[in-house]
Symmetry: C2
DNA sequence: GAATAAATATGATATACATCATATTTAAGA
DNA sequence: TCTTAAATATGATGTATATCATATTTATTC
C-alpha cells in the first residue's frame, strides 16, 4: 500500500512524536534500531523530511532530530506526500490521465470511495493525534 | 496503490470480459493497443493469468485469449492476488510481522477499516459485475 | 504432414526503488 | 580557534519491477 520509504518515515516521525521535543533531541543512530529500520536509509529519509519542514533538526554535538510544536500539528498525509508525492495516492486506479467522475474507469465506483475516505482521514489526523493514541495504550510503537 | 502489472491485468481482463467469449477469441496484439499497454508486457501478464486459470486461451491459428463463463464469475481480488500475491494487500500498513487487533500499530485503527472494506468489496465483485457496468454505461473502458 | 499462426517459455535490458558508504558542513565545548 | 560530534549532501551498489526480444510449442488448414 505504502512504499517502504513512506512506512519508514511514518515510523520515524511517530517515534519522534513520542520520544523527542525541542529540549530532547534524538540522534539518528538512536532512532534507527527501535523502529527496526536500517540506519543509513532512515537517515536519508529524515533528511528529506527535514528539508520539507516535517521534522526539525540541529547539527553538531548535542544535535539531533526532533519535533517541535508546529511539526506535531501536521497531518499524516503531509508525510506521505513529502516522500512519494501526491499523485501516487490520488491517481486513477487504472491509470487514466486523471480520475474523474464524468467518465469513471471500471474501478472508480467500487474502490474510490474507500480510498477517498482514507485520504480524508489521513488529512484530518495530526501526528500528535497518533502520538496520543500511543501514550494512552490504544496503539503500539515497537515496530 | 496497485502495481502496474496489476493495473494492466485488470484492464486486460475487463477488456476480454466485454469483447470476448468462447466463440470469439482475441489475439494479444489486438488487445494491447485499445487498453493502452505495451504488447510484449501484457503478453507476459496474460501468460501468468492463463496459468492460474483467471483467463482462458488456445494456441495456434484462430487461437487467442478469452474469458469463459467460469472465468467471468471470479472475483476481482483473484486477479490482484494472482499477480502480486495476497500479502501486499493484507500486510500491516507499517510492516509489522502481521496486522493484529491485539497489538495494533498506530495506523491500524485509522486506516485498516477503509482497507478491509476495500478488500471485501473486491472479493464480492465479479469480473462480470464490472463488465455489466461498462455495458450499461456506468463506467468506461478505453483506458 | 507441411506450412502457418497463434500462445508460451525463457531470458536480456532498462528503470525505479532500496540500501550502503563516505565526504562535507555545522554547531558545541574545551 | 581547534577538536569533536552531529546532520547533510552526494554518489555507489544491490534488488525488484517494468519492458523488450526471441526461440519454442501447439493447433489449424491446406
Ligand atoms: S476514474 Fe479510475 S479511479 Fe476514478
Ligand atoms: S497492525 Fe498495522 S495495520 Fe493492523
Amino acid at each position: 500500500m505504502f512504499s517502504k520509504s513512506v512506512k519508514y518515515a511514518l515510523k520515524a516521525v511517530l517515534f519522534l512524536a513520542v520520544n523527542s521535543n525541542d529540549k530532547k533531541k534524538v540522534m539518528v543512530k538512536d532512532l534507527a534500531k527501535p523502529i527496526n529500520v536500517p540506519q543509513a536509509y532512515i537517515a536519508k529519509v529524515l533528511q528529506e523530511l527535514s528539508k520539507q519542514k516535517i521534522i526539525s533538526s540541529t547539527r553538531g554535538p548535542k544535535g539531533g532530530v526532533f519535533l517541535d510544536e508546529k511539526n506535531r500539528e501536521q497531518s499524516l498525509v503531509s508525510i506521505i506526500y513529502a516522500i512519494e508525492g501526491e499523485k501516487k495516492m490520488t491517481h486513477c486506479l487504472l491509470n487514466l490521465k486523471k480520475c474523474n467522475l464524468a467518465k469513471p474507469c471500471p474501478l472508480h465506483h467500487l474502490a474510490n470511495p474507500s480510498r477517498e475516505e482514507l485520504i480524508k482521514t489521513l488529512k484530518n489526523k495530526t501526528i500528535n493525534d497518533l502520538a496520543m493514541d500511543i501514550k494512552s495504550g490504544r496503539s503500539f510503537l515497537p515496530i
